[in-house]
């Protein structure tokens, strides 16, 4: 068994600082895309549910388009098209930040739409009866409840987003996986490195998904 005789985890320790810098970018990308995606996604959901025909149609098209293309193709598309529009190269890291925000917005918007639709209609009517306008009803009545109802699902989507950030590999941005690949090449130890990052991803995702489960039980609104 060649693996068990040659396995050498001691190469991991000296590359930890390098892997840490990769993990930092992965986390930055996740948090950036999550916050931007939720804000944009909420706006998209409101647009989809609005009574203005063209606005609703445009939002529907955007969401369906993003959801039917592989994320890898979306990453390649933005990496190609953004420099053509702005006229100067953007760099893989910035391109990834923009791509993931716009891509995740489509997924978050579907979650927020379900959340908004889960709020009983009477709540919005009550707001109207109190003399509130659309903005006030959304900001003070509907969205807080929608957000609360959907918090576990939003977090689950964020776990998926965290895993998907590894796909920036395709445009060469230096995230955790890329850092592991480089370190693996430097020490000629790809096996140990890949196993180690797989473990990091697993521990983070597993812990987060346990957390979501506990949260789900705690925040459910009693009706």
């Amino acid at each position: 068994m060649s693996f068990f005789t040659s396995f050498d985890p001691s190469v991991i320790a000296p590359s930890l600082p390098f892997l840490w810098s990769g993990l930092l970018f992965t986390l930055k990308l996740t948090l950036f895309a999550m916050s931007g995606g939720i804000v944009l996604g909420t706006l998209l959901a409101l647009a989809r549910l609005s009574s203005i025909g063209p606005l609703s149609l445009a939002a529907t098209w955007y969401v369906n388009l993003m959801r039917s293309i592989p994320l890898l193709m979306v990453i390649l598309w933005f990496f190609l098209v953004i420099p053509l529009i702005t006229g100067k190269p953007l760099g893989a890291e910035n391109s990834a930040l923009i791509t993931f925000t716009l891509f995740e917005a489509a997924y978050y918007s579907e979650i927020m739409r379900a959340g908004i639709q889960s709020v009983p209609r009477g709540q919005a009517w009550a707001g109207q009866a109190l003399g509130m306008n659309y903005r006030q009803i959304m900001a003070h009545i509907v969205l807080p409840q929608a957000f609360r109802n959907m918090l576990p699902v939003l977090l689950t989507q964020t776990i998926i987003l965290f895993q998907d950030t590894s796909l920036v590999y395709a445009i060469g941005a230096k995230d955790l996986l890329k850092a592991a690949e480089i370190a693996g090449k430097n020490y000629n130890r790809p096996v140990e490195m890949y196993l180690f990052v797989a473990l990091i991803y697993f521990v983070i995702c597993f812990a987060l998904s346990r957390l979501v489960k506990r949260l789900q039980a705690r925040i459910a609104i009693i009706r």
Partner: protein, 245 residues
């Protein structure tokens, strides 16, 4: 925007060789379909077994099935690709490992099928479990009361119902598998995303290339959706809310 359009690029020859770019894309589509469909078969087989075991009244089996699902769900697909490609051969006995690394035909393809199939099996397993748990307890009890053994109850009572109930969520998993197959480019499978990158670099007509490839992915997803819709219509369980639609 300063871009030189050239829609005739697909019929032009690639820089080094006799083929046209269209040939590349067709090859890519073929590999994408082959990887996705074979991985789907593997995912259905493993997913059904694992999902069923998760509901089994046997602690060890249920634990093993849960571990299976959590492992494949909590590691990014791309990392799993690398694990199967670079790490898994190291775990084999020396001679077999050498054969896999040097002589195995279509190594990238089979690695991608196994990886994508097992990754998707964890999602299928979750749907199968949900389908089984959505059935009234009485069905299980009725099976046992009729003198069926537990495996027979699963085989003749529970699973036939569960599978018919979970066709809609399986549809979206089936559509996902085409999208996820794009990750196989990283280990060198010549599928659509690989060809898209290659053609973009070779022809420098990125927008035309990506539009064509995106369109092909669309068609795959659309056909998968229609196919599953057909199955859904035929397998609908009479008497449930879904059947009245």
């Amino acid at each position: 925007m300063n871009y030189h359009w050239n829609w005739g690029i697909f019929l032009e020859q690639v820089k080094a060789g006799e083929e046209t770019y269209l040939d590349w894309l067709i090859t890519g589509l073929g590999w994408t379909l082959a990887v996705s469909l074979m991985a789907w078969v593997l995912a259905l087989l493993c997913g059904s077994v694992v999902g069923t075991l998760r509901t089994a009244p046997h602690r060890g089996a249920a634990f093993a099935a849960t571990a299976w699902v959590e492992t494949f769900r909590n590691i990014p697909l791309l990392v799993q690709m690398f694990l199967w490609f670079f790490v898994a051969p190291e775990l084999l006995p020396r001679d077999l490992a050498l054969w896999v690394k040097q002589d195995m035909p279509a190594k990238e393809f089979f690695t991608a099928v196994i990886c994508l199939g097992l990754f998707t099996s964890s999602r299928v397993a979750e749907q199968v479990r949900a389908g089984i748990q959505s059935l009234p307890r009485g069905q299980h009890m009725a099976g046992l009361a009729l003198g069926f053994t537990l495996p027979q109850t699963y085989r003749f009572v529970i699973l036939p119902m569960a599978f018919r109930i979970i066709v809609p969520p399986l549809t979206s998993e089936f559509m996902n598998i085409f999208k996820n197959s794009s990750v196989a480019f990283a280990i060198g499978v010549l599928e659509l995303t690989f060809q898209a990158r290659q053609m973009q670099e070779d022809s420098e007509q990125g927008i035309e290339t990506y539009l064509a490839v995106t369109l092909l992915y669309f068609i795959c997803a659309f056909l998968a959706n229609r196919g599953m819709a057909w199955i859904e219509k035929r397998s609908r369980v009479p008497g449930l809310i879904a059947a009245s639609r």
